[in-house]
């Protein structure tokens, strides 16, 4: 009987029994197969399956996308104040961990720890993120994914 449940309380007794009965339950093999298939699909096409384009359409897709992006950026730059242009892209990019070693090395690592750290704001530039020159000398909060031996695996900028 689960120590959290009072055997003298009828409800606790039933909850404890229900929990014990369900303890060994898990998804059916069909779900296991569906997840294995999703992993295989993601390995082949990436996590977001891409549409396969052929012939002329495939050759035109990238130049058209590039032209459209340049056009959108040009329009955005004309409409946004200078300070926002510097700050906005950093927020989205800063939200996720960025590997600082090859992914294969992260794969080989067993355990790791998330450690807060402060770094010079100029470090943003090393990851291709924009830096406001007026604030380049300030420190920025980061979180490091660190292996037990001290090696840094990935880094994320906080705020």
């Amino acid at each position: 009987m689960d120590p959290r449940h009072d055997a003298t309380d009828p409800l606790d007794a039933r909850l404890g029994a229900l929990k014990a009965e369900c303890a060994a339950l898990g998804p059916p093999p069909a779900t296991d197969r569906a997840i294995a298939a999703a992993i295989a699909r993601a390995r082949r096409y990436g996590a977001h399956p891409r549409r396969v384009t052929r012939g002329l359409e495939r050759w035109l897709a990238w130049p058209l996308a590039l032209a459209a992006s340049i056009g959108l950026i040009a329009v955005a730059l004309r409409q946004m104040p200078a300070e926002e242009i510097v700050a906005a892209p950093a927020t989205a990019a800063a939200a996720r961990f960025m590997p600082v070693v090859p992914v294969t090395e992260i794969e080989r690592s067993g355990d790791a720890y998330v450690v807060p750290a402060r770094m010079p704001r100029m470090a943003l530039a090393q990851f291709g993120l924009p830096v406001n020159p007026a604030r380049a000398g300030e420190a920025i909060d980061t979180e490091l994914l660190v292996r037990p031996d001290g090696a840094v695996l990935a880094l994320r900028f906080v705020n």
Partner: protein, 205 residues
């Protein structure tokens, strides 16, 4: 009331969470193979939560698949600094199971104590053997209002701490406590009604 969940030793807990964090980073960096150990590690708790919440093995299987496909494509959304992976997965499971069952929140002001006991709870067969009692309890849990079901399943059956449930459901700690209290009171009342009706049938026979 004290937090009822005994927490594992800190070192062990940190090691487990760190491994999940590494696998989540690998997933976010485009390595889908990292999903396999995460799935094997957490599939049971996600499936059991969805099954106890919905009362349906088929819905639980679908929700489990939804949760891990979501993790495959949205691993970057998981922030290891904010807590372990399993409560995050349970939060996603909670959203998916609510969506699949089409449940609604109880409107403010609606009195949960006025809810009638589920009809199938009090049948002659349910109280005859322990197995049927568990089935009756399962149906009673599935008939609870969703926000009571959340805390009851997470605290009493999925062994989450009050703090974790507060984070999963986006509630204050005291709200978790009060909802758990009312969920238990409702279940006790329904089970008492069931026992009374069973006793009445036995004496009539």
């Amino acid at each position: 009331m004290d937090d009822p969940v005994p927490h594992p030793p800190a070192a062990l807990s940190e090691r487990t969470e760190a491994s999940d964090a590494v696998l989540a980073v690998r997933l976010a960096c485009g390595d889908p193979e990292a999903l396999d150990p995460l799935y094997r590690r957490h599939k049971g708790i996600v499936y059991r939560f969805a099954m106890l919440w919905s009362g349906s093995a088929a819905i639980a299987a679908d929700v489990t698949q939804d949760v891990f496909v979501h993790l495959l494509t949205r691993a970057a959304d998981y922030d290891a600094a904010r807590g372990p992976l399993s409560p995050w997965l349970l939060g996603i499971a909670r959203n998916f199971v609510r969506r699949r069952t089409g449940t609604r929140e109880l409107a403010l002001g609606e009195d949960p104590d006025a809810l009638a006991a589920p009809l199938e709870l009090a049948t002659p067969e349910t109280s005859l053997i322990a197995r049927a009692e568990l089935d009756a309890l399962r149906r009673a849990i599935a008939a609870l209002p969703p926000h009571y079901r959340d805390v009851l399943v997470l605290v009493e059956l999925a062994e989450r701490s009050y703090a974790e449930v507060a984070a999963i459901c986006g509630l204050e700690l005291n709200t978790v406590r009060s909802r758990l209290f009312r969920a238990r009171a409702l279940l006790s009342r329904w089970l008492a009604i069931e026992a009374q009706s069973t006793g009445a049938r036995s004496s009539a026979a």
